[in-house]
Amino acid sequence: MDMIHKLTIAVLVLLTAVTLAMLVQHQVSTQRLPGTAANRKVDLKKSYELIIAKNAEIYGDVVELSQQKQFSPAMEKLQEIIAVHPENSMSSVYLAQLQYNQGQIAAAIHSYRIAVDSEPDYVDKKTPLFIGDKIMALITEARGKLKREKKLKPNDKAIDLALEDVYYLQRRIAGGCE
């Protein structure tokens, strides 16, 4: 081993040590800063709490009217909210629930599909927004009805579309890497 080789190894060891020291020092000093993994979890929890509180405030009247089984006024109130907050995917969830309560099963399933497409957390068991079990209960009930209707009206495209929505939601709720 000549001098150049020895010197190169020495510099290599030094550089490695300095890099490692810098990394460790940086890791320790940034542990409590926003943006680190531990804090990201806390931030996410807080953001969910905020979303839930905000939704409770926005949709309070709709929920109350629905509980009183006043579905038409609830629907009118919901349409007003949609006009003000068109971006809020929770509107599709309440719309689905109201449509279901008014017997519009195919429309309810489609609204759930729109809701799930705009907010995947609705079918994510690990988030507080999860409503997969509610959707599953509805589509399980609807699937039987739709299949019976399909036998009676085999050429009805609306039933085909509703069944497509049912199977899509089933796949989404089943999970997987999507």
Partner: protein
């Protein structure tokens, strides 16, 4: 202690894959995705910020396990041969298109077997497509298509990929701010680190010894009626189906299967692309990772192509969803098939011609 012979080690690897895949799902990995190289690479691309879907961002320890398991086994058994230089750009793009094919089906060949073993009948189209692609590839091999021969390279080339594996593991443990980890969606669904890593290491080591490869098993059968690897695949399927039944993960049917769609024609074509491209580069995505660990620099280049593909399938919306394949995905599959055929024509050595 008696040494395991080759047929036995392929079967042991198959059993380990089946048990490992189902156990990983039971421990927290996404449904039917206990082991999926394409999904894992999409997650890795997200964690490294090559794509921006936080729900698909996580460094899967299994991937590192496969790489390092293969590396350590190759070192131990003195099979760590550093080779490379065989059409690197072609291999990069074939790796890229393989992941596109996987993303249109939603899963690599390993996941395809796992999906079948969990009762997902939509994966039958994928199996048929992959078998057709491999059969086609075998026909082309017989017709004189093969990439140029690799050369021996300095040892350092072979250490790069295992070192990247170690680095990823460090990133996963230290969680520096530039590494993303999703707290919702598939990224949040994972088995405990030590479980994932241990299963990855064991399977990686066994796969290095046995050479188990999903497309390779079918290729050997179509080409020379050799069944060693095919027995490994059958064992993988049987062990996965048994454990799926025991753990309650078996749901037979076409509808309601996790991360699946009903675009069977596109699934067939996508997996034809995976089968054909895998035969040209000698191995499915899983095999490429294992070969990269044992010093095959060409496989390492393919892995870089696969990571690039994994990022692109998300950012360019090539990936299928439960609603079905996207237009972009369909075009990408066709482009991939065109690329494969152009490569095949370019590399064909016609007998008697110079």
């Amino acid at each position: 202690m008696t040494r395991l012979k080759l047929p036995d080690i392929a079967i042991v690897t198959g059993a380990a894959l089946g048990v490992g895949a189902v156990l990983l799902t039971a421990f927290g990995n996404p449904a039917n995705s206990g082991i999926c190289i394409s999904c894992f690479l999409e997650n890795l691309a997200g964690a490294l910020q090559f794509q921006d879907n936080l729900r698909m961002s996580y460094i899967r320890p299994e991937l590192t396990g496969f790489l390092l398991g293969s590396f350590f086994m190759a070192l131990k058994s003195k099979r760590f041969n550093v080779t490379g230089g065989s059409s690197p750009v072609i291999r990069f793009f074939l790796g890229f298109f393989i992941i596109i094919g996987c993303a249109v089906f939603i899963g690599c060949p390993i996941k395809m077997v796992q999906r079948l073993a969990a009762g997902d009948l939509t994966a039958i189209a994928a199996l048929l497509g992959m078998m057709f692609g491999v059969w086609l590839g075998a026909k082309y091999i017989r017709a004189g298509v093969f990439l140029d021969r690799e050369k021996n390279l300095p040892k350092i080339n072979g250490y790069i990929l295992p070192l990247i594996g170690v680095l990823l593991l460090i990133f996963l443990i230290l969680k520096p701010s530039f590494i993303l980890q999703g707290e919702t969606g598939p990224a949040a669904q994972h088995a405990p680190l030590l479980v994932s890593l241990s299963i990855g290491l064991v399977i990686g080591g066994l796969a290095q010894r046995s050479g188990l490869c999903i497309t390779g098993g079918f290729r050997n059968f179509f080409l020379v009626r050799e069944t060693t690897l095919l027995y490994g695949i059958v064992t993988f399927f049987i062990s996965a189906i048994l454990l799926s039944l025991i753990t309650g993960q078996f749901h037979l049917g076409l509808n309601g299967q996790p991360a699946s769609h009903m675009g069977h024609g596109w699934t067939f074509l996508a997996m034809t692309l995976v089968g054909l491209a895998s035969v040209i580069i000698d191995g499915c995505p899983f095999r490429q990772v294992i070969k990269a660990g044992q010093g095959d620099v060409d496989a390492g280049i393919t892995c870089f192509g696969m990571v690039t593909g994994a990022a692109v399938v998300i950012t360019w919306l090539l990936r299928s969803t439960s609603a079905g394949p996207s237009f972009n995905g369909k075009i990408a599959v066709l482009t991939g098939l065109i690329f494969c055929l152009v490569v095949i024509l370019s590399y064909r050595k016609i007998p008697g011609k110079r």
